[in-house]
Symmetry: C2
Subunit: 662 residues, 2 copies
């Protein structure tokens, strides 16, 4: 049997129909509509080797329309990745299987990114293409020379984040980025013209993209379009005109195929239409063999790449970077920096402290790539001699992301997923609300990306309530697998940065002040105290009646209040808690030592944080006192605001005394 | 003295320089650059009357680039609004003054929207223009016939949300919307070409907008451009080429003027350049008089509008709607609906219950305008015979927002700010992360908008962790002035909807299930129990040892667990807590009655909510038990997930018993 293009593509369609039917849930329309495009891409253009999913120089493929997950599961199975097996596909969307409803990068090799929240796959692919060009500029063609391919749907192309990503990619002339748009003119609610009249091709062209249109079911046309995309120096949009649910004779071209099983009758009709006679979940040998050949079509290319790559002088460094390692000098550089702070204490904003740490880190760790969403001078993110990453010079390590917080955070995820770079990016803490969906998706994907979030409380002053975070720190703490650091001074800022970089599988958010803070850590060579998430900064002199638990800019306030209370014979511990998540990971013995679980009334616990008190009950417990802000802020100079909202030693002392006497 | 255009515009520039200098913080560049455009707009085009800021048929003016707040404060003072006074302007950015760093709609009449978070002013203006066209279609030209004018900067035009808004406005052919783009080619980090190469005019044209370009410092050209904008049936972008900080001879055209005081020397030089000799904060009488005339230029027009309007048969209904009132039938309709549920209890998903309430509400309350971000059939938001709002028929009340969650939520804020409509819009709860910045800005602005957030836990099943909310409900609770409702059944859903609509100054988020739930409220005529935020659904039979506190889909689980425990002689209360915020507002006596503050160990409090446990310590207190999910979800059918994550009666009973015995 000679295997045709249609045979290959129909194998995807058949597996999709069968898996969605077996699961009794899922999205058949997109995989069936894009089976032709995906077949041409994998057969003729995508550089990959199913036997080595981690090949550093592979092309990256991102299924931005992640609901069409059966497309990628089919492709991975057919081309011979170790997983999914056909059993895994039979188990689509079932507990503990790798073929989840949406593709998860931590479940399957070959899934380069977790997708599903629309628009973000496309935006992450921009970060991948940025990382590729940067590493190419640093290490040359012999080590890095690949493309990023994306399949995106109408949903991806309506989301705001795609606009930000497209603008950034066009500006940076990321010619290695090729997006295939599944132009099927159907969304969940019905035809796209219910909600949009946009000329998408014109819009991409306006952003500096190359646009090529083709029939998405004609393999020759698809091949030509992909060739044209590769040949053009701009990022390319391939507008592939398709029919959703292609092959299902009664439902194709309608939203009925989008997100529900086709049903037994329609599957029968589709099999007839497509001429597919094999039983469910079975791929005829000849077709499977042809697919498996595609899966190892680049094996020789990979072998010769590896051969040549290993001979490059920079191979060891490159491989260490791609594997996420940090250079030897990293720890020493941080320690020396902290030593210098102990020797000469500083009073400064922690955003400034962060800049000073970054000068050290960017020197010691060549894989960092920084940036800001148009707040460079405010976020203090440009530090050290790292050059600017631009279309003219991809070797630079600082990105002017523009006013695109969400696009920036998504690109950072993509850079981290690509590997070889450690992205950090700045904006105001309040605008973490804009980038929050990407911060979450980074946490889910277990990537290392550092969000530098300055102006972290009413302490930013006059800009007022639209710019003053109240609930942001606590809301970020609620995201699983994210470490939220709120350092109290220059020393803690250095410790937190070190912790953020050391963990390869957890993103970090650093909440930093606009306003100056005194240095509270004055003792040398004590190790990284922030590593336990919380520690006793000051022990009670008089008999302990109070334990203050404070974070960031409120730690020095706690110290001042404690000093006054001690003068009145009230013994106070002060616990600095820069990272809730790390404290939660400590053994009970440590927690008990720091915050003894005594009867209420014996020791009063008092939290101080210039943000919502929601959540602090966990630490102050029954009858504790949470000093915070449970309303929107106001516009005024910072000292006036701290006075207004009760963040002065006088007011804290008064509240603690009132509570002790109640 | 005859007063020229330059005199008028320079008054804005002078006030801006003086106020920013006095505050020693603020943004002079934009007001100075846009003084000419604003002068032409207010003098020749904007329909307003400073003596009646609430004139229903006034044009709406939105300063989307809210950091340039001195522009609007100058305009309001100069045109003769009651506030700000010159004293208020001297007090720019100071505690308790109305001239906050960014303009706040709740501090000053004439500020139609709180702006500052970039892009959202523009997106809200789309909602205003939608409300205007809808009310025009319903009530006719005699009552409603105005425009929405926007000033937006490069920042607004880079944010993703502006792209969503622009796509929506173009599709809906909102010809009454005119956006003046402050095309100064400068952002905070420097020239715009650091981060963008987009052809903005082409991009707007691709979205179906009319685009006109002009010199932003030539009053005749500006006037002509505004005329052209008004004449075109499409929404218009006026690209006004300006110089940021116009008039400051050494700093204009650079980012140095964006966000910092000019300094005394530069102000001196600017005064010389502009020929402005009056002392700081003083406006020469002739110029002030000319401005005041502009401020009452439409007084006659307003009077004759009012005259005619009051004669319209629909005047009373229209005025009631514009003032935010609800029709008389509202309460009765809800009560009857609840009576019918008590008479015939249902087992259904609360998203379905919501649809059934909406059928009733949309009939009883003609001001509701619903919609969904392309999840109509999943959010169950299209209910009753409300027609579709489209460019062909603005009288419809259902909006297909497309895949634009953030744009939708921002438009909803704009509709609510406009008045006359009560917007509600649906998406999955997980995608409240996308719309979160607008949900927050609605809360800050004290608008009534209802966010219908379905698929509210792992109960959505197979779509997996990208789609399963974990931290979303709790994170929404952290936003000040937002009510988060998570109803347990059809009855609570009706109660929560009633509460959401009744409060004019607080937005609401409804978290609703995908999966079916048994009806737990079976007693008739008990009043709106959800109004207190929490209530005792079941009292202990045996001696009370346990109080379950549960929300939404976990309430019936708490009831089942309680029944089993009672059989073993463990008395259990079950408290349903559909709304934390309303419970927090109750008197201590009610809270104490419901959740007695006894010694730890006497009564065990157990919270059950299929989301993060963060925050629940507040209610379960010391030694309580919080049953929740503190990790990302997984892809599987819902029953398998509830089993995996511990949400079965067996597992709950086992955990409670273990805790009681510990």
């Amino acid at each position: 049997m000679s295997v045709s293009h249609d045979d290959l593509a129909n194998a995807i369609r058949a597996l999709t129909m069968d898996a969605v039917e077996a699961a009794n849930s899922g999205h058949p329309g997109m995989p069936m509509g894009m089976a032709d495009a995906a077949t041409v891409l994998f057969q003729k253009h995508l550089k990959f080797d199913a036997a080595d999913p981690h090949w550093y120089d592979r092309d990256r493929f991102v299924l931005s329309a992640g609901h069409g997950s059966m497309l990628i599961y089919s492709l991975l199975y057919l081309t011979g990745y170790e997983r999914p097996t056909i059993g895994d596909i039979r188990n689509f969307r079932q507990l503990d299987g790798p073929c989840a409803g949406h593709p998860e990068n931590f479940l399957l090799d070959g899934v380069e990114a977790t997708t599903g929240p629309l628009g973000q796959g496309l935006a992450m692919s921009v970060g991948m293409a940025m990382a590729e060009r940067h590493l190419n500029a640093v290490y040359g063609d012999a080590l890095v020379d690949h493309r990023t391919w994306v399949i995106a749907g109408d949903g991806c192309l309506m989301e705001g984040v795609n606009h930000e990503a497209v603008g950034l990619a066009g500006h940076l002339k990321l010619g290695r980025l090729n997006v295939i748009w599944d132009d099927n003119r159907i969304t969940i609610d019905g035809p796209t013209d219910l909600s949009t009249s946009e000329d998408i091709q014109a819009r991409y062209a306006a952003a500096g993209w190359h646009v090529v249109e083709c029939n998405g079911h004609d393999p020759a046309a698809l091949d030509a379009a992909m060739k044209a995309a590769k040949a053009d120096p701009r990022p390319s949009l391939i507008a592939a005109r398709t029919v959703i649910g292609y092959g299902a004779p009664n439902k194709q071209g309608t939203s009925a195929t989008h997100g529900a099983p086709l049903g037994g009758d329609e599957i029968e009709a589709a099999r007839e239409t497509l001429g597919w006679t094999a039983p469910p979940f079975e791929i005829p040998d000849a077709i499977l063999s042809a697919w498996r050949e595609i899966g190892c079509g680049c094996a020789d290319r990979r072998a010769s790449w590896l051969d040549k790559a290993k001979k490059q002088p920079q191979w060891d460094e490159f491989a260490q970077r791609m594997d996420g390692g940090l250079p030897d000098g990293f720890e020493t550089a941080i320690e020396q920096h902290i030593d210098s702070l102990i020797a000469e204490p500083v009073k400064e904003a922690t955003r400034k402290s962060s800049e000073n740490v970054l000068k050290v880190l960017n020197g010691a760790v060549p894989s960092t790539m920084g940036g800001s969403a148009d707040l460079t001078g405010s976020n203090n993110t440009r530090a050290g001699d790292i050059g600017v990453f631009s279309a003219e010079d991809y070797s630079g390590r600082y990105v002017f992301y523009g006013i695109r917080e969400f696009g920036m955070a998504a690109a950072m995820n993509g850079m981290a997923l690509h590997g070889g770079v450690i992205p950090y990016g700045g904006t105001f803490l309040i605008f973490s609300d804009y980038s929050r969906p990407a911060i979450r998706l980074g946490a889910l994907q277990q990537v290392r990306a550092v969000h530098v979030l300055t102006h972290d409380s009413i302490g930013l002053g006059e800009d007022g309530p639209t710019h003053q975070p109240i609930e942001q720190v606590m809301s970020l703490r609620a995201i699983p697998n994210l470490r939220v650091f709120r350092p109290a001074d220059a020393v803690e800022t250095a410790e937190c940065w070190a912790l953020a970089l050391k963990d390869k599988e957890t993103p970090a958010a650093l909440a930093l002040t606009r306003q100056g803070l005194p240095q509270v850590r004055l003792e040398g060579r004590v190790g990284n105290l922030s590593a336990k998430g919380a520690y006793r900064l000051k022990a009670a002199d008089a008999a302990r009646k109070v334990i203050f638990i404070a974070t960031g800019s409120e730690v020095h306030l706690a110290l001042e209040a404690a000093d006054r209370l001690e003068k009145d014979g009230v013994g106070c511990d002060v616990v600095s808690m820069p990272c809730w998540e790390l404290f939660a990971e400590q053994p009970d013995s440590y927690k008990e030592e720091l915050l003894p679980n005594v009867q209420p009334g014996e020791i009063l616990r008092v939290s101080i944080e210039a943000g919502t008190t929601q959540g602090w009950a966990e630490h102050v417990m029954l009858n504790g006192l949470s000093i915070g802000i449970d309303r929107f802020g106001a516009s005024a100079p910072a000292p006036a605001l701290f006075e207004k909202f009760g963040f002065t030693p006088d007011q804290v002392v008064a509240r603690v005394k009132a509570k002790l006497e109640s």
